[in-house]
Amino acid sequence: MSRMLARLARGAYVPVFPIVGSGGRSAAQDLRLSGRLRIHDSPRPAQVLLIVGRLPYPLLRPALRVHDQISHPRLTVCWHQNGSNDHVSVRLFPTAVDVGPGEDVVDAICEHHADLLSGARASEAPIQPDVPASPWRGVGPYGQGGKGMAGGRPYGRPLPERAPARDGLELDELTLQIGPFFPALPPGLMVDLRVQGDVIQEARVRENPFAGGGGGAFARALMEPVSLAELENLRARHHLRWLARALRLQGLDALASRALRLAVAAEPAQLTRVRRLVRWLERSRTVSLALRGVCHLPASSLDAHAGPVSRASGIGSDARSDDPEYRSLGFEPIVQSEGDAWARWQQRMREAVQALELADRAGNRTVGPREQVEGPRGALTTHGAEASGPLLRGLSDWLPGLDWGDAMAAIVSLDLDLEEMASSPNDGAAAEGYTG
C-alpha cells in the first residue's frame, strides 16, 4: 500500500520552501512557473529547503531554524544559480545537494525528492538541538510570570500582556518577530511587531542583513553606454515581477503566474498582453477595493528620488526627464496624487506599459554614462540607491494602526529590496539591535 502511495506521490508537485540570499530573488520567483514544484509560504508543508544564492552571515542561524521546521522526509538543495560558491551554506548543511549555475535545479530537486520518497535517500536530521532557545523564566508551570496566565517570558518569548486597544477594550498583546524569510516580506527584512488581535500596535525594523549587492544594467549605465531598449525592457520586467508578487499576496495565484509569465519575457512584442492585464486589473476593481486608502504617504514624507513610490504621491521627479535620449522619445513621467497602496500599484503597472512603449520606439539609442540613472525603484547614483533607506525606516511609523493584511500590502507596495539598499553607504544599516 505505502509503495503504491509512494509511486503516486512521485508524480505530485514537489513541495519546496525557498530561502533567498544574495542575487537569488528573481531566480527563486521564476521557480513558481515550474510545472513540477509547489512553492509554499511556510516551511511546515514543504519537504525541500531550497537555498538560492549566498546567504549573508546574519541569515545563517535563521536558515538553520527553518531547516529544522521542514517536514520529514526532507532534503536541502543549495542552488548557486549565479555562480556564487557559498562555502558557508555547504558547511552548515553537510548533506545538502549542490546545484551549480549550468545545472537544471528543477530536475535536481525532483530527482532527489523521488529518492527521498523511495527511501533511497535518508531524510535529513535536525541540525539544531531540540531544546528551548532561552532558559525558562517564570512562575507558573508554563512559564507565566505576570497576572494570572499572562505576562512573563517563558523560554525567552514574552507571553501576551493586556493593554487598551483602539476601541477602549483591553486586549492581549502579542509580540513577535517576522522575517527574514517570511514570504510576504522582501528577503532579509526582519520586523519586530506588537499586535493586538489583527492590528499592528508597534513595528521595529531590524538591521539590514545584506552587506552589498545590486548592480545590473541600471548600475552599468552609470559607467558606460547601455541600450535604452534593454533598460526599458528590464524596467518592465522588474515591475511585472513586482506585480506577480503583489498579486500573490492578494490571494490571486493564477493571475500572479500570468503576470510572471509576462515578466520573464517582457519586450515590446508582449505589449498588447501586458496592456490587457493592466487594464483588467484597473477596471475590474477586484484588487483596488482592498488597497485604496491603505498606507497613504503624503509627498512631504517622502524622498523626491524614491521612483514610483514618490511619483504615486505626486512628486514628478524622474531622472529620465533630463535625459536628451528620453526627451527625444517624448518621455513624460507618469505622476499621480493619491499616494496610497493602490496608487503605487497603478504607478508600477502604468510604468511597465510605458517602459515597453519606450523600448518599442528606442531603436539603437543608448543611455549613459550618467551621474544619475532612473532605476525601477528610483534614482541610482554611484553611491547606490539612496532613496530606498528612508522607505525602510519609515515602516516603523507607517505600520502601526494598520491591520495585518493592510500592513503586508503596504510593505509590498513599497517594493523594498534590502540587498540593493545595502549597496548605498548611507543605508547599509537601517536600524538597531540585530543580534543574529
Binding site: 513541495p15 500570468r258 482592498a290 491591520d403
Partner: protein, 313 residues
Amino acid sequence: MNGPASLWSAVVSVPLAIGTGVYAVAVLDRTLAAWVEGRPWSMSDALLGPLRSAALRYLQARSSTERPDREAWALAPALLGALAAVALASIPLGAWFAVADIPEGIVLFGAAMAMVMVAVFLHGWSPNSALPLIGGYRFIALALSYEMPLALVLIAAALPAESLSVGAIIQSQAEMWNVVRQPLGLPIYLVPALGLAFWGPLAFPDAVDLAGGTAAEVSGAGRLVWSIARAAVLFAVAAMGAAVFLGGWLGPVLPGPVWMAVKTVALLVVLLAAGHLIGRVRLERFVVLAWAILIPLALVDVFVSGTLALLTR
C-alpha cells in the same frame, strides 16, 4: 428514511458524497487556475494531480510545535469534516433519496455552519503559534457577519414552502425557482458561503499574508484532512445553494440527482472562479459590508418573501 436503511445510507452516501464533492472541487479549481493563468489545461494535472498531492501529504510526517494542544489540534480538522458531513446530510439529492431530510433541515445546516467557527479557532489556537492564532482571531471576528445573512436568506427561502425542511423547500420551487422569485437570495447567500469555507477573497484565517494562517504549522495527514474538510464545506454550501435557490433535483428529462449535481457544479464554478479573480477583501470593510448592506438586504428579502408568501397563499 428511517431505521437501519437510513443508517446505512448515511454511512455509505455521506462519505461518498464528500469524496466526490472534494474531488470535484480539486479538479475544477485546477482547471480554473489553468484558465486564469492562460496555460494549457492538462488532463493529467487536473484529474490525477489531486490524488498525487493527497498521497504525498499522507506520506509526509506530521509536524509539531512547542507545547501545542495536541488533542485539539487533531480534533479541529475532524470537527470541520464532521460539520461538512452533517451539513451535506441535511440536503436531499433526489425526490426519493435523502439521508436526513428532517423537518428542521435548514436549522441543522445553519447550526453546522455556525460551529465551523469552533473548528477554525481550534485549528488556529492549538499549535501555540502566533500566525495561526491571528488566523483564528480573524474568523472569530467575522463569524457573525457570515452567519446572520446566511440564516436570513435561508429563512426567506423557507417562507414560500412554509417548512424548514430542505426537501419541502425544493418542492416549493416546482413552479418557479427561488433564484427568480427571490432575486436577492442567491447573491447574498454566496458571500457568506465563500466565507464559511474561508475560500478565495474571504480566506481570512488561512490567508497568504499569514503564511497560511491556521494551517501555517500543519503538515502531513493533518494538512490533508484540513484541506479535504475545507473543500467539503465549500461543496456543502454549494449543494445547499443549489437545493434552496436553484430548485435542487427539479428539472426535465434527466434524473433528479443529475440535476442536483449539475446545479451544484455550476455554483462551485462561480465560487471557485471568484477565488481566482477577486483579490483579498479588507477585514474591516467586509464587516461594514456585511452589517450595512448584506444584512439589511437579507432582511428586505425576508419581508418581501414573507409578504409574497402571504399574498399567494
